[in-house]
C-alpha cells in the first residue's frame, strides 16, 4: 500500500508521537511465545513456618480421608464372583467406610431417591416366593373379568406389565438398580417405550385419556 516499498515498515501516523523512532522498534514476534519461557526474575521462596506446615499436613490428610468417605463415588466396576482375599484387610486398614450413606431425603428432591424402585422389587421378590401357579390363575381370571367390564386397555397393560415384571425378576439374581431393570423390561415387552411417559409416578399414572393408540 503506502510507503516507500515492500518490506519497509510504513505507518499511517507519525510514530514519534508514541515515542518510537525507526531504530528502536521492538523485534517482531516470530511465532507464539514459548510454552516455558525463560524467567529473568526467579520467584521468591515459599513461606515456611509452623502454620504453613500444619495447614499442608491438614490438606494432605483431608485428601486421603476424602477418598475413603462414601461421598467418593466410583464408577460401576465389574464385581468379581468372589471378593478378593486382600480386600477385606485393605478395607480394614484404610478404614474405608461402606457405602451406607443415606442422606436425609427430606432435604432432597424426591427424584434423587433410588430406593423407591428397589423396595418395590424386593417386595416383589418376596411375593414371588409365595406366588404359585394358583395366583397366576387368579390373576388371569381377574384379567378376564376386567375384560368383560370393558376397561380393557390400560388395566391390562398395567397388570400384564406388573405380572411380567414379577416373573422376570424371579430370574434376576444380581442386584441391578431399578432403573436398569426398567429399561430391560421395556425392551422385552412388545410395548413401545415412546408411548409410555416414564414420569415420577411410574405405573400409577392415569391412562384414561391416552390419545395415542396402542396396538
Amino acid at each position: 500500500m503506502g510507503g516507500k516499498g515492500r518490506g519497509i515498515a510504513a505507518f499511517t501516523f507519525n510514530i514519534e508521537s508514541l515515542g518510537l523512532t525507526r531504530g528502536s522498534m521492538p523485534e517482531t514476534q516470530r511465532g507464539p511465545t514459548p510454552l516455558f519461557p525463560q524467567i529473568e526474575y526467579k520467584p521468591g521462596p515459599l513461606k515456611a513456618g509452623e502454620d504453613e506446615d500444619y495447614m499442608r499436613a491438614l490438606k494432605q490428610e483431608m485428601r486421603g480421608r476424602m477418598k475413603d468417605l462414601p461421598f467418593n463415588i466410583k464408577p460401576h466396576a465389574g464385581k468379581g464372583d468372589v471378593e478378593k482375599y486382600k480386600e477385606k484387610y485393605t478395607r480394614e486398614i484404610k478404614r474405608i467406610e461402606d457405602d451406607i450413606w443415606t442422606p436425609d431425603w427430606n432435604r432432597l428432591p424426591k427424584e434423587l431417591k433410588p430406593q423407591k424402585k428397589t423396595i418395590r422389587r424386593k417386595m416383589d421378590t418376596k411375593k414371588n416366593a409365595k406366588i404359585s401357579s394358583k395366583d397366576k390363575e387368579e390373576l388371569l381370571s381377574k384379567l378376564d373379568q376386567l375384560e368383560k367390564k370393558g376397561d380393557v386397555k390400560s388395566d391390562e397393560e398395567d397388570e400384564a406389565k406388573g405380572e411380567k415384571k414379577e416373573v422376570d425378576e424371579e430370574g434376576e439374581e444380581e442386584e441391578i438398580e431399578g432403573e436398569q431393570l426398567d429399561e430391560e423390561l421395556e425392551e422385552e415387552n412388545d410395548y413401545i417405550a415412546s408411548y409410555f411417559e416414564d414420569g415420577d409416578d411410574y405405573g400409577g399414572g392415569s391412562d384414561d385419556n391416552m390419545d395415542e393408540a396402542t396396538y
Partner: protein
C-alpha cells in the same frame, strides 16, 4: 464461568469426590442449569450414578436445586455454586483458624462438618468425642458436655450456622424455600431464617467409655438413636470465616506498616465491631476513643495519651486503614474496610509486577496507578528511567495486559497523528486478570501434583505395602531382625526417590495454600467493589 474456573472446579471435584462427580459437576457448570434427565443423557452416565453425584453435591452445599423454568410442575433443575467449590481449597485454613480459636475440639468439629457437608449437632458431638477419646491416653475419655460447649461457642460467634430449611419436597415440586422465590432459584440466605443460630436441645448421655479393642466404626446417619435434634443440620458459615481472614489481613498489614501496638489497637477496634458491622459494610461502626481505651486489654499497656497519638497516626497514614468521623467522645474512629481491602489488593498487584518484571517496571506501574493517565514522555520523566528502557518495559507490561492504552482523539476522525495515546492502569480489571491467573496457577499446581503421583505410582504402592507389612509385624511382636529385613526391601535409591517425591508434593501443596491466600484477597476486593454498587 471462565475456562480457568471451570477447569479448577473440575480438578477440585475430582480430587475430593472422584471422577463421576467431577464429570457431572463440570457438565453442570458448563450448562448452567439442567434437570436430572438432561444431565444423565448428556453426560452418558448411568442414572443412578448421576443421582448419587447430585446427592453428594447437594449434601456439601455445592449444588442447589429448585423449581425450574416450567414452574413447580416441571422437573427440578440443578445448578452448581462455583464459589463453594473453590472453598474446598481453603479447608485447611478454616480448620487451622478453628484450632487457633477454639483448640483441638473446635478443630475437629469444623473438620468433621467440612468433610461431611452438613451434620446434626448430636452426630457431630458424638464423632468428635469419639476421635478425641481415641487419641487420649488410656482410661481417659472425652466428656460430651465439653464438646457441646465448644460447639455452642462456635455457633454463638456465628462460625457455624443452621442449614436453611426446605419445604418437604414433593416429587416434582422444588426443594423449595420458605419464602416464595422466583423461578431459577436464588440460594436462600441462611441468615434469613430466624433460628439460624439457635442451638437445639439435645439429649446425649454422659461419657464415652474408651474400649481398646473396638474397631473404629463410624456411624453416619443410619442407625442413630434420636437425640432430639433430627432434621436440624449445621454447616460451616464461610462468610464469617472470610470476615475473620479479612480482619487478620488488615491487622497484619497495620503491624507491618506501623508497629505492633497500632495493630493491637486496630485489632481491638475490629473485635468491638464484630457483631455490629454487617457483612458487606464499607466501614465499621464508629467507635469513640474512650470506648477503645476501655476495651483495650491491659496487657498492651497503652496509656490514654499514647492511644490518641496512635489513633492520629493511623488516621494520617496514606493507607487509610482508620478514619476519623467526628470529635465526640474523644474522637470517633472507624476502620475503613473497603478502602483497606483496595489498598491490600493494590499492594498485591504492585508486588506481582515487581516480582515478575523487576523493580523499575514496578515503579512505572505504581506511577501509572497513582497518576492514572500518562503519555509516553511523561512516564519516562516521572519514573526517571531512560527512554529506551522505559519503552521496553511499557511494551512488556502492555503485552501482558497489565497496562492499557487509552486513545484521546483531537479530531473526530481518530487520525493517529492527531490523537493522544495515554498509558493507564485500572485497578479492578487488573485485579480480575490476576485472579484468573491465580486460578490457572492452582490448576497447574494440582495437575503437576497428579502427574508426579502418577509417575511414581508403583513406588508409592510398594512403600505403602511395606508400611502395612511393618505395621502388622509390629503389632504381632516381631523381632528387630525381621523388621530390618522388611525395611530393606526398599532400596536406597528408591528411598531417595521417595524422599524427593515427598519433598516435591509438599512444596506443591504449600504453594496451593499460599496462592489461595492471594485468591482470597483479590476476591474480597472484587466483591467489595461489587457490593458498593
Amino acid at each position: 464461568m471462565t475456562a480457568q474456573e471451570v477447569r479448577l472446579c473440575g480438578l477440585l471435584l475430582q480430587e475430593h469426590f472422584g471422577n463421576v462427580v467431577e464429570k457431572v459437576g463440570t457438565h453442570l457448570i458448563r450448562s448452567g442449569v439442567l434437570n436430572l434427565r438432561a444431565l444423565a443423557h448428556e453426560t452418558k452416565l448411568p442414572l443412578d450414578l448421576v443421582k448419587k453425584s447430585l446427592c453428594v453435591l447437594v449434601q456439601h452445599g455445592m449444588c442447589t436445586f429448585g423449581a425450574g423454568r416450567r414452574g413447580p410442575a416441571g422437573p427440578v433443575e440443578y445448578r452448581i455454586n462455583c464459589e463453594h467449590v473453590f472453598h474446598m481449597l481453603r479447608y485447611p485454613r478454616y480448620i487451622y483458624t478453628a484450632k487457633s480459636l477454639y483448640g483441638d475440639t473446635g478443630e475437629l468439629i469444623v473438620e468433621e462438618i467440612l468433610q461431611r457437608g452438613q451434620m446434626t449437632m448430636s452426630s457431630t458431638v458424638k464423632t468428635v468425642a469419639d476421635r478425641l477419646t481415641h487419641n487420649m491416653p488410656e482410661g481417659q475419655s472425652m466428656d460430651y458436655s465439653e464438646v457441646v460447649s465448644v460447639f455452642s461457642q462456635l455457633v454463638e460467634t456465628h462460625f457455624l450456622q443452621r442449614c436453611p430449611p426446605l419445604a418437604s419436597a414433593g416429587s416434582s415440586s422444588s426443594g423449595a424455600v420458605d419464602t416464595p422465590l422466583p423461578v431459577a432459584t436464588q440460594p436462600t440466605e441462611p441468615e434469613n431464617h430466624p433460628d439460624c443460630y439457635k442451638l437445639p436441645y439435645i439429649n446425649l448421655t454422659g461419657q464415652l467409655l474408651q474400649s481398646k479393642h473396638s474397631s473404629h466404626t463410624k456411624k453416619l446417619f443410619s442407625g442413630q438413636p434420636l437425640c432430639g435434634d433430627d432434621g436440624i443440620y449445621w454447616q460451616v458459615n464461610f462468610q464469617r470465616f472470610h470476615l475473620h481472614f479479612r480482619d487478620q489481613a488488615i491487622i497484619s498489614a497495620v503491624s507491618c506498616k506501623l508497629d505492633q501496638s497500632s495493630s493491637e489497637i486496630v485489632r481491638t477496634m475490629l473485635r468491638m465491631s464484630e457483631v455490629t458491622t454487617p457483612a458487606h459494610a464499607a466501614f465499621t461502626q464508629a467507635l469513640s476513643a474512650n470506648e477503645i481505651f476501655r476495651a483495650l486489654l491491659s496487657s498492651y499497656n497503652i496509656a490514654r495519651p499514647i492511644l490518641d497519638q496512635y489513633l492520629s497516626l493511623l488516621v494520617d497514614d496514606p493507607m487509610e486503614f482508620v478514619g476519623k468521623t467526628g470529635d465526640s467522645g474523644g474522637g470517633m474512629y472507624v476502620v475503613n474496610l473497603h478502602r483497606a481491602l483496595a489498598n491490600l489488593a493494590r499492594a498485591t498487584l504492585e508486588s506481582v509486577v515487581q516480582e515478575r518484571f523487576g523493580s523499575r517496571s514496578a515503579r512505572i506501574f505504581r506511577l501509572l496507578l497513582r497518576k492514572r493517565h500518562l503519555e509516553q514522555k511523561q512516564v519516562e520523566d516521572f519514573a526517571m528511567i531512560p527512554a529506551k528502557e522505559a519503552k521496553d518495559m511499557l511494551y512488556k507490561l502492555l503485552s501482558e495486559n497489565l497496562v492499557q492504552l487509552q486513545e484521546i482523539p483531537k479530531t473526530p476522525d481518530y487520525a493517529p497523528s492527531r490523537t493522544f495515546y495515554l498509558y493507564t492502569v485500572n485497578q479492578l480489571p487488573t485485579a480480575r486478570l490476576l485472579l484468573q491467573n491465580c486460578y490457572k496457577t492452582v490448576g497447574n499446581l494440582i495437575e503437576r501434583r497428579l502427574y508426579e503421583t502418577k509417575e511414581n505410582k508403583r513406588l508409592l504402592e510398594k512403600s505403602q505395602r511395606i508400611e502395612a507389612i511393618l505395621a502388622s509385624l509390629q503389632a504381632t511382636g516381631a523381632e528387630a531382625a525381621q523388621l530390618t529385613e522388611v525395611e530393606e526391601m526398599i532400596t536406597v535409591p528408591e528411598r531417595q526417590q521417595l524422599e524427593s517425591l515427598r519433598h516435591h508434593i509438599n512444596k506443591l501443596d504449600s504453594s496451593e495454600n499460599q496462592v489461595d491466600e492471594t485468591i482470597f484477597l483479590l476476591k474480597s476486593y472484587i466483591n467489595s467493589t461489587q457490593a458498593s454498587h
